[in-house]
């Protein structure tokens, strides 16, 4: 167990994984084994493949908990409908809520997001919203009853890492619910940094699925999340403007 609890459920790991874009289905099981994710997000559409031999059947056989997302939804209405479909199809009331503002930047639509989060909480969903790195919006999402907030480090699929570490720290300070860094992770150091900033977990998708070697990157991210979390708990030294010797200087010859 990871010690991370969201909405009363303890996750087995602080690394969450998205599986979209994996070059082949045969990579899914070794990637899951290497990442050991606490949750796996799946995109749910009106018609998704549930048949034997497809993505969902492999995930179900593996037994990792699924977190349906509303990827691609452009309005609150569309996102709420998609969440309802996911609840039917996957038999979970958890949802990673995405309401995208425009298809170029793929940034969250703050107004639609808050509206959809409020509706879904009222309908009994456990809502984990993909949000900007805005601490005020994070607090508003927490206020309407979201079980966690998922601020972006940088745009989806960009691999630019955590572009505004101060904002992620501010989000951390603004809410009591778990903070999951979502979007922007490109490599292990990005995930470690997010954890050092106080995030409770990291979600990675493209960083793994489009890496040259997805299995190796899955392992690297698992280790990075663990390392960053441990470092956060260890308490880093302050950054000093000048050097300070680590060995005693008294008694030199």
């Amino acid at each position: 167990m990871s010690g991370l609890t969201i909405a009363g459920r303890e996750l087995t790991s602080r690394l969450l994984l998205g599986t979209g874009g994996l070059p082949s289905l045969a990579l899914l099981e070794p990637v899951l084994a290497a990442a050991d994710p606490g949750l796996v997000t799946v995109s749910v559409r009106r018609t998704s493949s549930t048949r034997e031999g497809g993505l969902l059947s492999v995930l179900r056989r593996h037994g990792v908990p699924l977190l349906p997302n509303t990827a691609g939804c452009l309005t609150a209405r569309e996102a709420v409908l998609t969440a309802e479909l996911a609840r039917e199809a996957l038999e979970t009331d958890w949802v990673k809520l995405e309401v995208i503002g425009d298809e170029t930047s793929l940034l969250p639509d703050a107004v639609g997001l808050l509206d959809a989060a409020d509706q879904l909480v009222r309908r009994g969903f456990t809502v984990l919203p993909y949000t900007t790195d805005d601490p005020v919006l994070a607090r508003r999402l927490s206020d309407v009853g979201c079980a966690a907030v998922m601020p972006l480090g940088s745009p989806i699929g960009s691999g630019l890492g955590v572009l505004n570490p101060h904002a992620i720290e501010a989000v951390r300070a603004a809410v009591a619910v778990p903070v999951v860094l979502d979007a922007g992770v490109g490599t292990a150091s990005d995930a470690a940094l997010a954890m050092e900033l106080g995030c409770d977990a990291v979600l990675a998708a493209t960083a793994v699925t489009r890496a040259d070697d997805p299995v190796a990157m899955a392992r690297a991210l698992r280790l990075a999340v663990e390392a960053g979390h441990a470092a956060r708990g260890a308490g880093r030294i302050p950054r000093r403007a000048v050097a300070r010797a680590s060995s005693p200087t008294a008694g030199r010859i």
Binding site: L25, T47, S48, G53, E103
Partner: protein, 318 residues
Amino acid sequence: MRTKILGAGIIGLSVADELQRRGHAVTVVDPAPGSGASHAAAGMLSPSAELWHGEETLLGLGRESLALWPAFARDLGVPLHDTGTLLVGHDAGDQQQVARQVALLRHHHAPAEELDDGSVLLPDEASVDPRAVVRALLARVPVVPVDPGGDHDVTILATGAVLPPPYSSMVRGVRGEILRLRCDDPPPRTLRGWVHGEPIYVVPRADGEVVVGATSEEHDAAPVVTAGGVLRLLTAARLVWPALDRAELVEATARDRPGTADNLPLVGPVAPGLVLAAGHYRHGVLLAPLTARLVADHLETGVVSPALDPRRLLGGDR
């Protein structure tokens, strides 16, 4: 040897043709020959553009089969469009994707020429009209609509995306939507690349037909052409070849590609007297002549290519 082939797509027919040529008796069964994935396929013979990290085996197979195509096409009397493939990226992120593909091709010593405008020529690639290939094969290989029974030494399953139990879960349908247009200013060679992160290709034929594809989605439902799919394809295709704006939209088709877990086809035995030639995913046209040889060689000598052996996906609870 008396053989029965179930499925008259480009794979089943190519296998039948090769077996006939080698003097074996062939019965091909299909109620609707050439109506599956072969009917939708663009016919790109494009192993380099298809290459991805970890899929070097497929590159090797593709190049091996590409080398067989000139003789295969000549023998069938079907023109081969051998002017190469141009890799293009639309926005800055797409151009980074092109650069990544070139680096991968260089690593595998596949030819790729960077041009002044940022595009990349893959000079040894080609394309062929799969419908013309199927027509030419059907002129040589008789097909019956229902299984006439009778004794056979071996049955070859070439039913693409739909295999009978207990093999049904070895392939899954991956829906592709594809468009055919008629254009008086077609590109001189196949264009492949990315537009806003999504893959696109534009394949010209000698007669002015241009094939644009393809979407890729996994569905339980029957493959149909969707408004969103057509919109995405046309938007992207017009950005890589603006003259398509005035092209006549002739046809929109959707079919399921026969996808396997590792993206490699299933070619070889699964049970005594039962051989698979299926699961060719995005590569059925390219790999048709090689598959035909591999199946015929297997029947005559017992040899099986380990990477394609269907038994690699049996076992476990797949």
